[in-house]
């Protein structure tokens, strides 16, 4: 018989071992589904790997996918550190995309346009995140519910925009007009889609890490998240910290949308995000809310997404598997987190 026993301390190597354990468990669990779909497990995972990380072009494609999830992952990690339950990164991403698209369509010098797109997108994301944060601080409205439901509000507002005033009058498709060509983010490697936004995401992660670990704002975010009462008694304005966190989190999610508009799609359409905002939650949990861990976690999920499409083409396993893998990875990580607080112990059977 086995039982759980409380741990007095958590070894440091757990931070690395747990996500790996969770990913391993996920791949094992999902191999059953692949077998059920009638494909060879080794072959399917092999195709997934080679299509996502097998050569330099595949790696750049995976990085392009990872960039928005690095931003949304950082957004969620920052928010969750303060226990501001921002499930609204998806909506904030969309708001950022719309705002940056509107700015990018105005003719002006390229560098200025890109800068203003980033400012507008971050601002729009922050403004959306401010809504659930204000509702919580002023009226004690549950932030999980309000931030989640706002996603639908923003999505349908976007639809109204591209079905209405922004609709392509020539083709009739529900897509926005493209941004100015000068506002397109420069490509970093000739022949790939690796754009400036990917570099920005990779730089953002250590910056956010620095903010959380080395600044007084980061200190206040951590303390407020772990014990708001102690924070209040210690002279921290808890409400102000929650609002700052929400603004920062929303801005990061908004930047995910900016990167998609400026570096990938150059316009806004209804499927501009295949759920990058929700994937950000998985990314942040796999990273154990550590901003540096967000980068490998986002790359893992991006590899699963790009790999799953190739696997689908090669073996006939539906590409939906990528979503199953994401969901399973989140569950596996939540289970693995149990081991930070508990250990498994063998005990004698009851007599």
């Amino acid at each position: 018989m086995f039982r759980l026993e409380a741990r007095t301390s958590t070894p440091a190597w757990f931070n690395l071992a747990l996500p790996l354990l969770a990913i391993g468990a996920t791949l094992v669990l999902c191999s059953g589904l692949i077998a059920l779909a009638g494909a060879g497990v080794i072959e399917a995972y092999g195709v997934m790997f080679s299509a996502s990380l097998g050569d330099s072009y595949a790696i750049t494609e995976t990085l392009v996918r990872a960039a928005p999830m690095i931003f949304t992952g950082l957004a969620v990690a920052v928010a969750f550190r303060a226990k501001f339950w921002n499930i609204g990164a998806e909506g904030q991403l969309l708001a950022g995309a719309v705002a940056s698209c509107a700015v990018g369509a105005i003719p002006m010098p390229g560098p200025l346009a890109m800068f203003l797109m980033a400012v507008a997108g971050a601002g729009a994301g922050a403004a959306v995140a401010l809504i659930p944060a204000t509702l919580r601080v002023k009226f004690k409205v549950d932030d999980v519910v309000s931030s989640l439901l706002l996603n639908s509000v923003i999505f349908y507002a976007l639809m109204a925009l591209i079905e209405g005033p922004w609709k392509d009058s020539f083709s009739g498709y529900p897509i926005s007009p493209p941004i100015e060509e000068s506002a397109n983010f420069p490509v970093l490697l000739e022949g790939t889609r690796l754009h400036l936004g990917v570099l920005a995401a990779l730089i953002a992660a250590p910056l956010i890490w620095f903010l959380i670990v080395r600044t007084t704002l980061g200190f206040r975010i951590r303390v407020t998240g772990e014990n708001p009462e102690a924070a209040r008694y210690g002279g921290i304005h808890v409400e102000r910290v929650l609002i700052s966190t929400a603004l920062l989190s929303g801005a990061l999610a908004g930047l995910a949308g900016v990167g998609e508009v400026g570096g990938v799609h150059f316009q806004v359409m209804s499927d501009i995000s295949p759920g990058y905002g929700y994937s950000g939650i998985v990314v942040a949990m796999l990273a154990r809310l550590n901003p540096l861990g967000v980068v490998p976690a986002a790359i893992f999920l991006a590899a699963v997404m790009t790999g799953a499409e190739a696997m689908s083409r090669a073996t006939g396993v539906p590409a939906f598997l990528s979503e199953v893998i994401q969901g399973t990875a989140l569950l596996a990580m939540l289970v693995a987190l149990l081991f930070t607080a508990y250990r498994i112990r063998r005990v004698g059977a009851a007599r």
């Binding site: 018989m1 039982r3 026993e5 007095t8 301390s9 080395r214 600044t215 007084t216 704002l217 980061g218 200190f219 206040r220 951590r222 303390v223 772990e226 014990n227 009462e229 102690a230 924070a231 209040r232 008694y233 210690g234 002279g235 921290i236 112990r345 005990v347 004698g348 059977a349 009851a350 007599r351």
Partner: protein, 505 residues
């Protein structure tokens, strides 16, 4: 004195956590009708031993016998089935459910129906037998701490406990409530129930128990067969391994007032509000605030700490008027605060100890500049305090929650005293601490008094207040019922004032 076969027996129990031997070869038994005292300093292994008995930990070695038969207890459900009930220090109750509903949690019949009438009858019966009466329909959130504890005891009896474990039950009670608890425990013992009573308070153990087991460093350091006729200092020596002498309060000439409250009143939801409270504390003086908990002490501490604003009245710290009532403002004026509840309003248990130690002053030049932390300064500060106060922990980056209560209290003391406060407000400073740790805290307060700090000690332990204070004010229903010089104060007189029976201005 009961002589029958033991109700429960623990033989050679050992339990280690990593390299730490929490229990080593501990033998213990309780006979029917016996009240066994379990004594020991914090970290001596009392709680671990009881957690083994209650099924939270599996022992590394040793066996447990219930009425002579060996049993394996793997969960609290097993323990309950074996007739063992436990009242933890932190209650396990559902605050929104009623008294009766809390009793019935988990014991619905096979059909899934809840036997309300049967539950009511049993509740009434237990209440009559032991004087443990409770209103069955009141929600738990409306009960006082003493009543919640009563409910925990009733809950254990309701489930057929033959042995009741009480982990420091008096730590949360006012003196009058302690008398009621003891009467109930004696009544249970008279009916053949076994009781294990864990406490630091030697006078209580001497008054209540039939026999004592003293633990030190996880081993049985001694057994006392007649606690009533054994002196407290003998038992203290068994617990600590050396003599404990209470610190002496030398004479002191108080200086100017460093904290004044004039006609302070509050309103709001949390606890009893203050009504026209005026008091002062002078430099080099300790003012005790006595009172049954829930008579406005929380509001008083919150106002002085700047967490709650006063609706009316004025407060000065070191001669300066407090205008905004914010924690930062009162701290900048020279106030230090040691909170009543270490875990909830003092520390951040999931973060490194160093973070908790710099928390109130993180925005000051000592620990940050231009919004950037100074990690080296934070670490050095924590390390210096750990050394100066002999805080037992692996280092400043240890999770604060891993420290024992005494060490946490030392850490909180260190973080305030390092900045030489002009006024110090402390609530229940030694609650849950063992003799050695309490002694250390008391000495520090008396040191600060000598150095000219004005100290307010809010407490319920009258003996502690009498030992520390120069003057004692009594709170009753949000007012100051009276103030006595400690030379004129006795436990009996303070006790009367605490019930509102006597007022002396």
């Amino acid at each position: 004195m009961p002589l029958s076969a033991p109700l429960i027996e623990m033989r050679g129990i050992s339990k280690s956590f990593g390299a730490v031997k929490a229990n080593e070869a501990v033998d213990l038994s309780v006979a029917p009708g016996e009240i066994l005292g379990l004594l020991g300093e914090n970290g001596a292994g009392k709680t671990t031993l009881m957690n083994v008995l209650f099924g939270a930990y599996a022992p590394d070695a040793g066996e447990i016998l219930v009425q002579g038969k060996p049993v394996t207890i793997n969960s609290s459900a097993d323990a309950l089935a074996a007739g063992i009930g436990m009242v933890h220090q932190h209650f396990h109750l559902a605050p929104r459910l009623s008294v009766l509903e809390n009793l019935l949690i988990g014991i619905s019949g096979r059909s899934g129906r809840i036997d309300r009438a049967g539950g009511l009858a049993r509740l009434g019966e237990i209440g009559r037998q032991h004087g443990l009466t409770l209103d069955p329909d009141l929600p738990v959130s409306a009960l006082s701490v003493g009543e919640q504890q009563r409910l925990e005891i009733v809950k254990a009896l309701f489930r057929g406990a033959r042995l009741l474990i009480l982990d420091e039950p008096t730590a949360v009670l006012a003196p009058t409530e302690v008398d009621g608890l003891f009467a109930a425990l004696r009544s249970m013992s008279a009916q053949g129930l076994g009781i294990i009573f864990i406490s630091h308070k030697l006078n209580e153990v001497r008054a209540l128990t039939h026999r004592c087991v003293v633990l030190r460093h996880g081993r049985v350091a001694g057994r006392v067969d007649a606690p009533a006729s054994t002196t407290s200092s003998e038992m203290a020596r068994l617990m600590c391994g050396h003599e404990i002498v209470p610190p002496a309060r030398g004479p002191s000439t108080p200086g100017a007032a460093v904290l004044t409250l004039e006609g302070i009143s509050t309103s709001g939801h949390a606890g009893t509000p203050l009504r026209d409270v005026s008091l002062f504390v002078r430099a080099g003086e300790i003012l005790g605030i006595a009172g049954v908990s829930g008579n406005g002490q929380r509001a008083l501490a919150d106002v002085i700490s700047g967490v709650r604003a006063a609706d009316a009245g004025q407060m000065t710290i070191a001669g300066k008027m407090v205008s905004r009532f914010s924690p930062r403002e009162v701290q900048a004026l020279g106030l230090g605060r040691i909170p009543e509840d270490r875990m909830t309003t003092g520390l951040v248990t999931n973060l490194p100890l160093a973070d908790s130690m710099v928390l109130p002053r993180i925005g000051t030049g000592a620990f940050s500049r231009n919004g950037l932390l100074k990690p080296d300064a934070i670490r050095a500060f924590a390390e210096a305090q750990i050394k100066a106060y002999d805080i037992r922990c692996p280092g400043p980056m240890t999770r604060a929650g891993a420290l024992s209560g005494g060490n946490l209290q030392k850490a909180l003391l260190a973080r305030e005293l390092a900045f030489d406060p002009k006024v110090l407000i402390v609530s229940q400073p030694t609650r849950g601490l063992d003799i050695g740790a309490a002694r250390f805290i008391h000495e520090k307060f008396l040191d600060m008094r000598t150095k000219g700090c004005g100290i307010i000690v809010i407490g319920e332990d009258l003996e502690e207040l009498l030992m520390l204070s120069d003057r004692i004010a009594v709170m009753y229903e949000g007012r100051i019922a009276g103030t006595l010089a400690s030379a004129d104060a006795t436990v009996a007189r303070l006790g009367l004032m605490m019930t509102g029976a006597e007022g002396t201005a």
